[in-house]
């Protein structure tokens, strides 16, 4: 079915993550997708996430963090659900760094990647 993303042996449709959050700054909504494609990004996942994604650093082209997660999802089905829940929110302990800056609590998945060179997707330390 169009728009359906499958995790493992199949999950329900997950179209909403493609929508533009209403809180997105107007400048970021000016075009769809968000401006010209970025150059090639280097993407690093922490060791815990490598179980679901690339075993080493990979490269990708994407306009926003959200777009990047979509791109990675096509290569590694199921990865996105480990990073975000089904409402599109980043999971509690996930941190996304763009060129070394933590954007998780600010622009989040709407962060534009135009001109960026690297994205790190990490888990914060939590345990006990």
């Amino acid at each position: 079915m169009e728009g359906e993303v499958r995790v493992g042996d199949g999950i329900r449709s997950w179209e909403a993550v493609r929508s533009v959050p209403s809180s997105l700054p107007a400048a970021l909504k000016s075009s769809t997708p968000f401006g010209p494609p970025s150059s090639m990004l280097e993407v690093h996942l922490d060791s815990m996430l490598r179980r679901f994604g690339p075993p080493v650093a990979t490269t990708a082209e994407a306009d926003t963090v959200e777009h990047l997660l979509d791109v990675l999802e096509t290569r590694y089905p199921g990865l996105r659900f480990k990073i975000r829940d089904e409402t599109g929110a980043l999971r509690r302990y996930v941190r996304v760094f763009v060129d070394g800056e933590d954007v998780s609590g600010t622009t989040g998945v709407a962060t534009p990647l135009s001109g960026a060179r690297s994205v790190d997707i990490l888990h914060s330390i939590a345990g006990g």
Binding site: P21, M48, F52, E86, T87
Partner: protein
């Protein structure tokens, strides 16, 4: 297929799934395998319709809930489809859901219940916040049960101390259409049409924690067991005490009052002993007042047996047998299908107590587990 002669106790713990096994004599036990290292596993259930198949409700603090499945008695596990909060068909974007839509994402998976014997591919799953799912293909995909997940009254449902959990699912062995669910701080519901419609069935259950003492809903059911020989009979451990129903939950009668403090979380009823139910008493209050203790009443491990024929209670352990402040969670007790039944109790302190003879004698498995959330059993072939 070779005959299965083993009893397997399936433990969901704070740090993974453990499978502990023995033969039908149940004297010598060993930890046969463990999996899901480091993950919170709220429930592990055996599917008796498919020998060797177990499901685990895994809740990873980092990457969310997963349903894991094994088809070889726990030797290997694989993630199958994970149920997700359903978008309404008329509003596919969850960010635009109306107030009566299920809120936010699936937080935790709480209970996995194999369906009726006539529907061998059906499995039910209860989740948080107050969500019910069903698979009709053994976990390859899950359908949300909208009659619960979009229930008109759910905006008034509130979480209990452990969360907004749908933790009890029971299927009438005489009919796949009759299904019961239990939810924290909401109570029990019954469906007569395989989940299309639900009626609250809490009459007679008191809610000591709110102004209205006998509301239609709002009871904090902790767990319910069905009597295998008489599926009209149910045994209920509620926040407000211990109850029995003999009419498909239409009316509940409190049976725990003679015990004084009849607080607790878990209940099990063995297939081989109709009319019996087992409960683990916990202290509802601290001796000094204040917070509920929710650890072993009177400072020792105890199991109480209810005999529904004589309507009498019996304590199964001496107070000196196992002193300690054990906690036992709602899935913390289970029975096997043998005669006499084995009774298994896992504690929050990581102890696994068991009786191989219907409660006459008790022993402790000599292994310290992580804090135990749930106990399930896979019984030998008859």
């Amino acid at each position: 297929m070779a005959k299965n002669t083993k009893v397997r106790v399936l433990l969901g713990t704070r740090k993974g799934t453990y499978i502990v096994e023995s033969d039908a004599r149940r004297r010598k036990w060993k930890v046969a395998s463990y999996a899901h290292d480091g993950n919170d596993v709220f429930h592990v259930s055996a599917d008796p319709r498919h020998p060797g198949t177990f499901y685990a409700a895994v809740n990873n603090g980092f990457w969310g809930p997963e349903v894991q499945k094994t088809v070889n008695w726990g030797k290997t596990w694989k993630e199958v489809a994970t149920p997700l909060t359903p978008a309404r068909k008329d509003r596919p974007n969850p960010m635009e859901q109306p107030a009566d839509a299920p809120p936010k994402a699936v937080l935790n998976l709480w209970h996995i219940e194999p369906g009726h014997a006539d529907d061998p591919d059906v499995v039910y799953l209860g989740a948080e916040p107050h969500l019910l799912f069903r698979t009709q293909d053994q976990g390859a995909s899950w359908e949300p049960i909208d009659s619960i997940n979009h229930h008109p009254g759910r905006e008034n449902w509130s979480p209990g101390g452990g969360g907004a959990n749908l933790h009890t699912i029971l299927v009438d062995p005489r009919s796949p259409n009759r299904v019961y669910v239990g939810m924290s701080s909401v109570g029990t519901f019954r469906s007569e049409d395989a989940g299309k419609n639900w009626s609250p069935v809490n009459r007679g259950v008191e809610t000591p924690f709110q102004p209205e003492k006998f509301p239609e809903i709002g009871q904090c059911v902790h767990h319910v067991a069905i009597d295998a020989a008489d599926p009209d009979t149910f045994y209920r451990q509620d926040h407000g005490g211990i109850y029995v129903s003999h009419n498909r939950m239409d009316k509940w009668t409190r049976i725990g009052k003679p015990l004084g403090d009849d607080f607790g979380f878990c209940v099990a009823s063995p297939r081989a002993r109709p009319g019996r139910a087992y409960f683990v008493p916990l202290a509802s209050t601290s001796p000094s007042g204040g917070m509920p203790r929710t650890t072993a009443l009177d400072g020792h491990f105890q199991v109480r047996e209810w005999n529904d024929e004589t309507r009498k209670w019996r304590k199964l352990l001496s107070p000196s047998a196992f002193p300690g402040h054990f906690g036992v969670q709602r899935e913390g007790i289970a029975c096997d299908d043998l005669d006499p039944p084995g009774i298994y109790v896992g504690t929050t302190t990581g102890h696994l107590f068991l009786s191989p003879d219907g409660g006459r004698s008790w022993r402790l498995v000599p292994f310290s587990f992580p804090s135990i959330h749930s106990v399930g059993v896979s019984s030998p072939d008859p």
